[in-house]
């Protein structure tokens, strides 16, 4: 199985979110960047497990500038065999999807795995777009993936439960909780990652389908209104008459 895993570089979960340039740019000052957790914990680790069972190769791909290389090395430390970076700063999901598709289309990957969404733009877009551009099946929010030869049995999240899908490789999926358990890179992996191949590919022509005009921080939350535990029932009066949610 030759597997392509798409990884995104995102601010750490606990990063302070602020904007600059008239609220048009994310303020990266002092921000730690990580591999998008869903790409790492679910997509990459499951890809490695499948490779370990069936043989083959796991390649990670990122669309980004040279600043992303340390984040890409982290994915190599966890166990990916090699990495590709499309050398551009993408502003839009369609552009990212097009760049990955243009790289992947003649490489014969058996499957392309992404995380369910990124924790920065929360779009849940790139995986489905790649599938459409490659004319391959797309399975969203997959929580389980088992391979039997070229046949995959996949569970995906639906409203109020799960759906079991059968599909033949090649396919594209976005991975959600349940797919795999996070792996922590060991010292050998970190050392090996330094010398694993990281190929830099120049981007193809693409046009952004969307753009962010402006960011906005949510209005500051008002103070918490405390209700005495002895009179807990008063809470429900407030929820009905003041907050009007009951």
């Amino acid at each position: 199985m030759n597997i392509l895993v798409c990884i995104s570089k995102v601010p750490d979960t606990t990063a302070k979110i602020a904007f600059t340039d008239g609220d048009t740019k994310f303020d990266t000052n002092g921000v730690q960047f990580i591999v998008n957790p869903y790409d790492e914990w679910y997509a990459l680790v499951r890809a490695l497990e499948i490779k370990e069972a069936a043989g083959g190769k796991v390649t990670v791909i990122n669309v980004g500038t040279a600043d992303n290389d340390p984040t890409i090395r982290k994915a190599l430390a966890i166990g990916a065999d090699d990495a590709v970076r499309i050398n551009m700063d993408p502003k839009d999901a369609m552009t990212t999807a097009k760049q990955i598709t243009d790289y992947a289309k003649d490489k014969g990957f058996d499957m392309i795995l992404c995380g369910k969404e990124t924790i920065d733009y929360n779009g849940s877009q790139v995986a489905g777009m790649i599938a459409a551009l490659l004319e391959q099946p797309y399975i969203s929010y997959a929580s389980k993936l088992d391979m039997n030869g070229n046949s995959a049995t996949i569970e995906r999240d639906i409203q109020g439960g799960k759906e079991v899908i059968e599909v033949q490789a090649p396919f594209v999926l976005s991975a959600a909780k349940g797919m795999a358990e996070a792996r922590i890179p060991n010292m050998r992996g970190i050392m090996a990652a330094r010398t694993k191949p990281l190929e830099v590919v120049e981007p193809s022509e693409s046009a952004d389908a969307t753009e962010i005009v402006k960011f906005e921080l949510p209005a500051a939350k008002g103070d918490c209104k405390y209700i005495d535990a002895e009179n807990a029932g008063e809470l429900l009066e407030l929820l009905r008459n003041e907050a009007k949610v009951l």
């Binding site: 909780k177 960011f215 005495d228 807990a232 429900l236």
Partner: protein, 310 residues
């Protein structure tokens, strides 16, 4: 301007989130064509603003086929916009539709398009918003569940049937495993959630009682689902499901940032915790510092006396 809306059905009913998508499209203005996949009574679609309903017999999951069917409906009706819910069905279809129609996608919209055409959506896991513009002539908008007000307009839509488009992509749905819960968590307006502070799965009776009296769904924090005290589908937070109910009551949950990422879009947050320093109080609208085992039964009793769940 016409808009195509993806309407999803489950067990012979139209999903509530699909009605929100129809109402969103109606509030955008112009003609609204609801394309309904699967058999269900479609009267509500007109009530929320659909002018036409095109019914497609098959409700089977195939994002490529669904997207191509929606595009065919757009061609017939000269539509330039597509609206879906950003629920699990919409998340499966929207990006495929966007790429096949070469239409920019704004996913998880929380408001109608502004005058300049920009659309607001939550980013950074609910810690900020972005206003996005679509550069392509056609656009796709997926609407975050429970983020816009549904408006009843009392239209009756003209119904027709439509064939599903052909697709070269094949996948087979083998089975659906639906949870027994009456109310899927992602569609609930009210949610009662509990965490490790409850000490053990045997103590969930009072949480279920409170949920029942309020007409709410139940949820839990990650440690609780990891320890199998509660089923995994109840886990809300960054790795679990993200929800946006009108009311989120958190009992015995400290409010780690990963938990907040899944619930911080709730309209009203109530925190009940015996630790006054619990970080969750900083994000709460209402708080009770006290022992859950004393506070929750009082709430159940009060809810009964107010007959809230009816």
């Amino acid at each position: 301007m016409s808009t195509i809306v993806y309407v999803n059905t489950q067990k012979g009913n139209i999903n509530k989130a699909s009605l929100e998508a129809v109402s969103y499209a109606a509030q955008m203005g112009g003609e609204v064509i609801a394309v309904q996949f699967g058999d269900a009574d479609s009267a509500e679609l007109g009530n929320y603003g659909a002018d036409k309903v095109a019914k497609v017999a098959s409700a089977d999951f195939n994002p490529d086929q669904i997207a191509r069917t929606l595009i065919a409906a757009a061609d017939v009706n000269s539509a330039d916009s597509f609206v879906l819910s950003h629920d699990f069905s919409g998340k499966a279809v929207a990006p495929v539709l966007s790429a096949l129609a070469n239409a920019g996608l704004v996913s998880g919209a929380v408001a109608l398009p502004a005058e300049d055409g920009s659309i607001k959506k939550a980013v950074f896991s609910g810690k900020a918003f972005a206003h996005m513009k679509v550069n392509t002539p056609k656009k796709v908008i997926s609407v975050l569940p429970n983020s816009i007000e549904k408006k009843e307009v009392g239209k009756s839509a003209a119904e027709s049937s439509m064939d599903a488009a052909s697709s070269n992509v094949s996948l087979n749905v083998k089975e659906q495993k639906l949870e027994s819960a009456d109310l899927p968590l992602t569609e609930a307006d009210l949610v009662v959630s509990a965490g490790r502070g409850l000490k053990g799965p045997e103590n969930w009776g009072m949480i279920e009682d409170l949920a029942k009296e309020l007409g709410a769904a139940t949820a839990c924090s990650r440690p609780v689902s990891d320890m199998d005290w509660r089923p995994h589908h109840e886990h809300v937070g960054q790795t679990g499901v993200a929800i946006r109910p009108n009311l989120y009551i958190a009992v015995g949950i400290s409010g780690a940032i990963q938990h907040l990422a899944g619930v911080n879009q709730s309209k009203v947050i109530v925190v009940i915790n015996n630790d006054p320093e619990a970080p969750f109080f900083k994000s709460a609208d209402y708080g009770i510092v006290g022992d859950a085992f004393e506070v929750v039964p009082k709430l159940v009793e009060k809810a009964k006396s107010m007959s809230l769940g009816e």
